[in-house]
Symmetry: D2
Subunit: 342 residues, 4 copies
């Protein structure tokens, strides 16, 4: 059976990544693509790498007949998204890739994003899209809120440890190295090649990065008490990939075993042998997440490193995995593409 | 039906790329992987990006039971290859990715590669592996010799024009920009990141690059007279991708039309609208080749730009396309992966 | 003696490069820096890499007291420049880095830049700033028009050959590889890191690049007849550096000797031994230009490769070299910084 | 007065960087360059970017007449260095850039480097080369041991804080991002462009990196008690630059003030305004170190970020700064080159 798919916001990187993945998905067909400012253009003009595909022209959202759509991916900027989703048919299945429905508490959204929530009535039905931990809710959801790519990476490293109570909750440091495609296709001086290549710098340091809202929500819920991690992102001179180095207090061997046990049946989460640490290059272009653990000469301290591709497992691949569940398709369908190396 | 595949030389980039592609090929199963110096290791140790796959251990070639193999890909260094292939069963289907069987005339091989040919008795049965132009011979071949990646790019741009007689055969300049993975995984100072990134330089300039042997053979055969192109390669600070800028004397509109006609039924060769020129980024990780043509203010001159991914369409993707033909599988099977951008 | 320097347009890359060079120049002092949109800011806010220097605050041009300025560098966008320069004191020495005064014939400017010339009355006194070929005129000039960076590179490769009559003037192909800083600090989608890194593409192909106006003007003047070269630029995924590959008809040995003779007394132009070809990495951050020549297996054809740093020898270094001459300072002062490698 | 300089090990990156810096140093002349395997070659063959300089040919160390040398820089691999230095004249001033004399306790050397110390008799006179903190000892030293580049970066961030007692000594995490030139010009698979570009990974994690020996020695000495930091290095896909993110327990404002006070008279150490964090791009090719401090939403935690160029301030620039002191030259001579951006 072929499911009919719409992608709203197809002119950005996550929209294009969805098209790339669905291109070889045997049970989905793209029936509508929207991009407000580029409406009327062919996808091949906006993304020549998709030239070989037969795709519908880009249109404005209001031109789409949603009665012919089984599921819509919404890859729009935050804030815009709440208004758009509120106007869509109430029975349309939606996987949202923005930040707009990730935070359950509307007040948290307003705190972290600095603006009012424009669809608070929809928030209660939104399911947080971290597939491995919300699988059953997602299967039955109408509206799934994709996670932040950094937030996903940190959670893969930490959730089983918090659940198992094997680390000190007041001593968690996350040092992030993030590829630039996570910042999107927006025109900002600091995203120019000449500004960004050949070096690195931190940004949103000191507890200001918005994905902290997700960490706080999820970790505190798991722990049953407030958990406030430290989190410093660094922008990397490469396009795809996130590497999260996590410093915790706990027994390294126990931590490794806890993670290995938690993910032993998960197709996309690969826990490396103790002491081996992963590279972003090894998950590039794929839906896999690799996690490694090592000890330290300081007893009782461990370092966890998790990597994934921000556009795939961190965003569009996760979205497709969730859509598979929502449509009753086998979860890994279309997602077994091997990473691209070198 | 599942065909049983061996990959000889699986620890190099083209070997790994074959594994990547076959990973989602529905009619092939990898039953043997060889890597002499790394025999005994798991593929996941040599290439952690393949960690999610269940693959046979790396072995030495002599440990492989070829009676259980339907087709072998040979991704070994040149010279070594001739000796290895000569020792394989005489009825084994082989797709060779090295330079060892590309040149029909053994004397040409010895001239360009500076060493004797170690399997001259096999040379006559070797079919040159440029699929779109040798499709029927490949379908019936036992031994197919994959083309040079640069040689393939230049031929896609020029073969139809030489056949049609629409360009001056004595005025062909090919200026190549080649990603570094084409140089393989060998330890050379000039391939270090610190030496290669952040700049460019030419190499093998002045008529010395070995792929000239292929250009001479193929273009002269097509033209029915000797054709000697000028060819200057430049090494690029990126991993995948070849861009060939071709300067010719001829009518730009006729040239464009000739190419568009020649490739109108070819899945993997995409001719852009007149005046549009392609980027290597748009074919990255895929089996597609994009070709563009533009005119010049100097009348009677045209510029053709062709791009492909050296590891895919230029090497392992081409090899798989040929293997599909040799095994009676639909030619595009396993090769419709969309390019990875950004 | 210390000369008082103003830099107009100090918030762009060429402005910043001038500050970098003048920082260790023993006979110049920066007394004014302008940047209209960033007026009021410290240079360290706009360019933190200059934080260690004591510099005047950024101001608007009209706030500068030019009676206290000996020479002004004008690093403004084209078109803007003509208006600004026309309004400056008529006895102020000016080195312009824009395209606005490069073309002697106002009609040529209007053709290549698609807009009227706003200071035609100043054009006759503008001297073309290719130092090695206009040294005496520059020494006595009030207004010097810096060359295009690509135009400079091609001219270093070709001028002596055209003057000596040793190449076929109707058979000149220039294939350019240009680092991205040449495109400036402007916000364009195709200059984003995610769009530009990890690949290459051509632009302004087919006789459309504006620097052709300079090639036509200079080469035709040298030859005493119209010369129209073919010129295809390619954008490179690195920041600094230009590599120009030039294909000509002529005797390679004669060509090499002609270049070696022409530049034997020039500090900044280094002709390599015959057959050796240069890398952009070897001139990075410096005022040097390296040139190599090789022959071809096709008799009577030669390939010349010239490299320079577009921001230094191609722009701000050239400008400083010219300013030294105009102010009676030894020409190489402040310009002997070694390239930065790796 | 011109001092006569020898550079031993001139064919590596730190040797070449010394030549680059000394090229514009007004009081030093290079009289000898050694490179055992490349003896007999011109420096321009080994490093074409130095082509414009007049330099002595590369020779073997034993060919150098040290009676004509005032100071030797020793840029050789560790272990080799101890034997070479032991054989040099006992009154020759030496600045060593290797790890061989950094650790005061010979047992520490043997522990971290896994081999016996070959010149224990010289160890007592070796002065640790972190200029800003050992200035007077260096001025009077005969043998100065340059610091590790990573060790220098971490110490600039932490020494004043440990001395002032304003951070918790048992809670120090250093997360390092290191450019690849720090690994030298050695032929290792993981340093190839195709392996290293477009991603990142950690290495020597878990308390195994050798620069921990320096941290332990220096921090414990300052604190008067053992201090064992956590330290995780990550290899970056760029050539020059180190960024160290340091997580500490302490009052952010006090930490910032302590650093600002400590470095207020230091030319090369620039403390940014509170809350501003530095980029490696802003010190590229220069002898500057930029340091920033920010607080966290978790009270009592601070993040410090320090950047420098590993080849300059982290190695050859530091060495030159120390040589200036040892030879009675003004400390900053030859080192005021501005960073190169972009």
């Amino acid at each position: 059976m072929t499911h009919r798919i719409a992608i709203l916001g197809a002119s950005g990187y996550t929209g294009a990544e969805l098209v790339r993945l669905i291109a070889t998905h045997p049970e989905m067909e793209i029936v509508a693509l929207s991009a407000d400012r580029k409406a009327g253009q062919d996808m091949a003009e906006v993304f020549p790498f998709l030239r070989h595909l037969t795709l519908p022209k880009l249109v404005k959202i209001e031109e789409i007949d949603f009665s012919q759509v089984d599921l819509a991916f919404c890859a729009l900027p935050h804030a815009t998204t709440q208004k758009v989703v509120a106007a869509l048919p109430k029975d349309l299945k939606i996987v949202d890739l923005s930040a707009d429905f990730r935070l359950r508490d509307v007040a948290d959204y307003e705190k972290w994003y600095g603006q009012p929530h424009f669809a608070p009535e929809l928030q209660p039905e939104a399911v947080y899209g971290l597939t491995e931990f919300y699988r059953e809710e997602i299967r039955n959801a109408r509206l799934v809120a994709g996670t932040g790519c950094n937030a996903a990476t940190g959670q893969y490293a930490l959730r089983p440890l918090i659940s198992a109570g094997v680390i000190d909750l007041d001593r968690i440091v996350l040092d992030l190295k993030a590829g630039v495609s996570g910042a999107g296709r927006s025109l900002k001086e600091n995203l120019l090649h000449a500004e960004l290549s050949e070096g690195t710098h931190s940004y949103s340091a000191g507890g200001k990065h918005r994905h902290l809202g997700e960490f706080d929500q999820e970790f505190s819920k798991l722990a049953g008490r407030p958990v406030h991690v430290q989190f410093t992102p660094h922008l990397m001179p490469f396009n795809r990939g996130i590497l999260m180095t996590v410093y915790v207090d706990g027994d390294p061997a126990v931590i490794h075993q806890t993670l290995a046990d938690a993910y032993k049946d998960e197709t996309f989460i690969q826990v490396l042998p103790f002491g081996a640490l992963p590279s972003t290059r090894d998950v590039r272009g794929s839906n896999f997440c690799h996690i490694g653990v090592t000890g330290d000469r300081v007893p009782g301290r461990a370092t966890i490193v998790a990597v994934l591709d921000n556009l795939t497992k961190g965003s569009s691949g996760q979205a497709l995995q969730n859509a598979n569940l929502m449509l009753g398709i086998e979860e890994t369908t279309g997602l077994m593409l091997a990473p691209v190396f070198p």
